[in-house]
Every structure is written in structure tokens, then in C-alpha cells.
Amino acid sequence: MAQPLRSIADGMANQSAQGDWDVVYNVRITPATTVNTGTTSGYQTVARWQETPTVPTLGGSVPYAYCKSVRATALTGSGGILVGLETNGGTLTVSGNSFAAGTALPSRKSSGASAAVQLASTMPILWSSASATATTPVVTIGYTNEAGTSSRSMTMTLPTNSLIGSAYLMSPHLQSGDLGIRSIDSMSISTGTAGVFKVGLLVPFVTQLNGAATGCSITTQFIPVVQPGLLAGDQIGVYRIGTNSSSVMSFGLTLGPET
């Protein structure tokens, strides 16, 4: 097996044999999201990009695809960009305070590894998929941690009336001793009448600067990078960190095949 991230030559050989997936997407972040510096809600202002790229079909001789590079430039709002394999861990609908279970992270082989292992999200993110009407709500989340221990619990107090696309880093608020999340077991909210929150179980493979207007970022993934192998239908989550600006963003990526 040739691993496309192991060396430039392996990447070239695999591209020649099976082809890379090079794409630039055509969407934007809008409207502006909620500013958040709260010590109870992730410490950082984070905005979810409006679209979620999907990994295309893999050929029969391609067991996995890997992210070889990410290209991004935003018109306004400098900050960072966070990109990774993402699974929807669960959905909380504020009206009725109802929870719908999502999907646990799968087992996957990582680049450079020979066998699949259970993934855990070290960067879980709570985000608004519909603007909320809720005054400093407390969200309580039950989860299974990175070691497979269930009945773990965490709380976050969110800013009032989170706008759609607003996102909150969960890692600082995990139960003491936990490093990540495999799955979400429950979600509830203390107050509110409208809005929807989801948990993105993100396994990041790119964290990079994303300059505004006069800057851009391109990150190329070669050794020493470890990232999960991607399969057809996988969702790729994209977040901007440190900005709440409404902005158009040009975003593209290259996936390379393992052979």
C-alpha cells in the first residue's frame, strides 16, 4: 500500500494512478455570528462555515482518501480555520427541549497506521444550526469519553440568543480528566423558546491561519501529519476561529488516494 502523505513521491504516484480530488467550493458565511469570549462557552469566537463538503465515491482499489491540502481565503475577518472529519453527534431542539441522537465516531485507520482504531473527537464543537431565542442558557451534555466510558457530563453557559452558525468549543468544559468524545448520549437546555444546537464531533486535520482580503492560507499535508482516513460520504467540517464577521470565503481542498 502506498500512503499519499508519506512522501511527495507517494503522493505523485497515487495521483497518477488513481487521481486526486481537487475542488473549490462556492459558498459563504453569513450572517455574522455571535461574539463569544465567555469562559463558560469555549473562550473563543467561532463561526461554522455554511457548507459541509462531502467525500466523493472511492474506487474499488482505493481504501481511503486523505486530505493533501486545504486552500482558503476570506474577504473579511482574519483568524484561524479549523478543518476536519466531522460526525453529527446529536441535535438539541430548544422548543420542547428535545434531543435526537446522532452518530458515534467510527473506527478508522489513520495515515501511517496499519489498523483501524476507534476515533474520538478532541475538538467537539456545539453549534447553532438555527438561531436561538434563549437568555444565557445552560446546555448540559452527556457523552462517552475517548476511552469509551459513558455517563460523562459537561455544561456550557452560552451567550444570549446565539445566531445561526455560532459555534462553541466544548473541550475546555469536558468532565475533569477527559480528553475527547466518542459519542453524545444526551443534550438538554435550561431555558429558551427557539433554536437548534448540534454537536460536531470534529477530528481536525488542519488548523491554519486564514487571512482576510489580502491574505490567504494553504496548508499542505505531508509528514509528520497523522489524520484519519476518509471514506465516501464522510462530512468535512469547516470552522473559522477568532472572528464573527459575515464574510464570503473561498474554500477548496485536495484529497489524495491511498492505493
Partner: protein
């Protein structure tokens, strides 16, 4: 012989006794600021043509099976990210006659071991300058899932937009990219004149900001890009995030692949 699959083979091919490398210089100049072609929500990504490059040769030299761009050089007085991309000519619209000329769809290529139609945003470029009252334009396209008859936003065009002014069309809700543009219609305005060209874009590199204080020198192989371009392939260079006046000077180095 076999296809070039290592940097060493590329070097040997470029520098051997019979070198299969050539350097294609380009120069672009915007005498005055170009126009943000489209207005309205989501259309505010500033973009303009940086330089026109000739199509790749119409026939491959003996012993050459494809052209591999291996290096991208660029110096610009416009401080903005630079996109170097393979282009697909979707078609054009003559505003005066409201006549759409349909050209190519995105090509089908082997991607991650599977045959797949490539995807792109719709890059709209002013090919013949617009008059002062050009009205609006709306495009019909095939989306990323093969759905036909999808409509972009009806975009108001900037008055008297000059040649090289560009925009990215806003797609229907839920769409991330297109496979083809199948129609375009002008509406409103007064005695509109001018011609729009619609491009599909397959990125070769999005390079860091290129202000006047330094030049870009991008090693595409080191970025993991080893794209093979066919005879007559179209390529172009664009500024993203800027429509200011200025000059852009550079070159693309190609190496001829082998069978």
C-alpha cells in the same frame, strides 16, 4: 518509460539531454480599478483577472503525454491572494442580443479511483465591457448532484464594468458547486451591451498574498499538486480579494509527462 511519479524523475525530465520543460511567462495590467461585477448577498467576493495565459499547445509534442505545471511564479502590485487554475469554458452571454452560447461541461476524470465529473463554482468574467445600465443576469446550471434547471441568484451587474471584472455567482440554497451551466438570461437595464464569459475553475494553486514587496515562487510538487493538463487546456490567473489597479507579472513552468 512510465508516467513521472517522483520529483527526481521530473527533474531529470526537465534537465535531461532532451529537456521537456518550458517556461510560459505572463503579464497582466489593470489600468484602473475593476468593478465588483455582482452585488447583493453572497456576491461580495472581490475577484478580477490578473493575467491572461494562452491555451496550452493544441497538440502534444512527440514523447509527451500531458503537461505538468511544476512551478508558479508571480509578482504583483496588487496585494491579494492569487488563484492559478485550469479553466472550463461553460459558455458566454451577449447582453445586447440576450443570446447564450453553450460550450463545455466540467470534464469527467478519474478521481480517487473512480470516474467522476469534476465540480466548480461559476466564475463570471466581463469579456466585452458593459454599458452603464446592464441590468441583471441569472444563470441556469446543473448542480453537484446532477440536478438540472437550478438557478443562481439574479445578480445586478455593476454599471460600466470593465473587461476582466469578475464575480462568483451565488447558487441556490443547498448547492455547493456546479457541473455545467446550461443557460443565462439578461433582464432589466436599458439597452444593455457587453459580453459575459462563464468559467469553471479547477484550482492548481491558491498562493499566498502577493504584495509589491516580494514575489511568489510556488513549487507545486512540494504542495502535493501534480496535475496533468491535456493539449489545448485553458489556464488563468486571478486575484481574489481585490479589484484594485495594478500589474501582475509571472510565469508557469511546465514539464512534459511521458507514457
Amino acid at each position: 518509460m512510465a508516467a513521472l511519479t517522483t520529483p527526481e524523475q521530473v527533474l531529470a525530465r526537465a534537465c535531461g539531454s532532451t529537456p521537456y520543460e518550458w517556461r510560459e511567462p505572463f503579464y497582466g495590467y489593470a489600468a484602473a480599478a475593476r468593478t465588483s461585477l455582482f452585488s447583493g448577498a453572497g456576491a461580495a467576493q472581490l475577484i478580477q483577472r490578473a493575467a491572461y495565459l494562452p491555451n496550452l499547445p493544441g497538440s502534444l509534442e512527440t514523447g509527451v503525454t500531458a503537461y505538468i505545471p511544476v512551478k508558479f511564479e508571480c509578482f504583483s502590485s496588487t496585494g491579494s491572494p492569487v488563484l492559478f487554475a485550469e479553466l472550463v469554458n461553460f459558455g458566454s452571454l451577449n447582453l445586447a442580443t440576450n443570446t447564450f452560447t453553450n460550450n463545455d461541461a466540467m470534464p469527467t476524470r478519474t478521481v480517487l479511483g473512480s470516474s467522476k465529473q469534476m465540480l466548480s463554482p461559476i466564475l463570471v468574467e466581463v469579456e466585452v465591457a458593459l454599458n452603464a445600465t446592464p441590468g441583471s443576469v441569472q444563470l441556469t446550471y446543473v448542480d453537484q448532484d446532477g440536478n438540472t434547471g437550478q438557478l443562481t441568484t439574479s445578480h445586478a451587474m455593476g454599471a460600466s464594468s470593465v473587461v476582466g471584472s469578475c464575480a462568483i455567482a451565488v447558487l441556490a440554497a443547498g448547492d455547493t458547486a456546479v457541473a455545467d451551466v446550461t443557460a443565462a438570461v439578461q433582464s432589466g437595464g436599458t439597452s444593455p451591451t457587453g459580453t459575459l464569459r462563464f468559467w469553471g475553475v479547477m484550482p492548481l494553486t491558491l498562493s499566498q498574498s502577493a504584495p509589491s514587496t516580494y514575489a511568489l515562487n510556488t513549487n507545486l510538487l512540494a504542495e502535493g499538486q501534480c496535475d496533468r493538463l491535456a493539449a489545448s487546456a485553458k489556464v488563468g490567473v486571478f486575484h481574489i480579494g481585490s479589484v484594485t489597479a495594478g500589474a501582475t507579472i509571472g510565469a508557469v513552468h511546465y514539464v512534459g509527462d511521458q507514457a
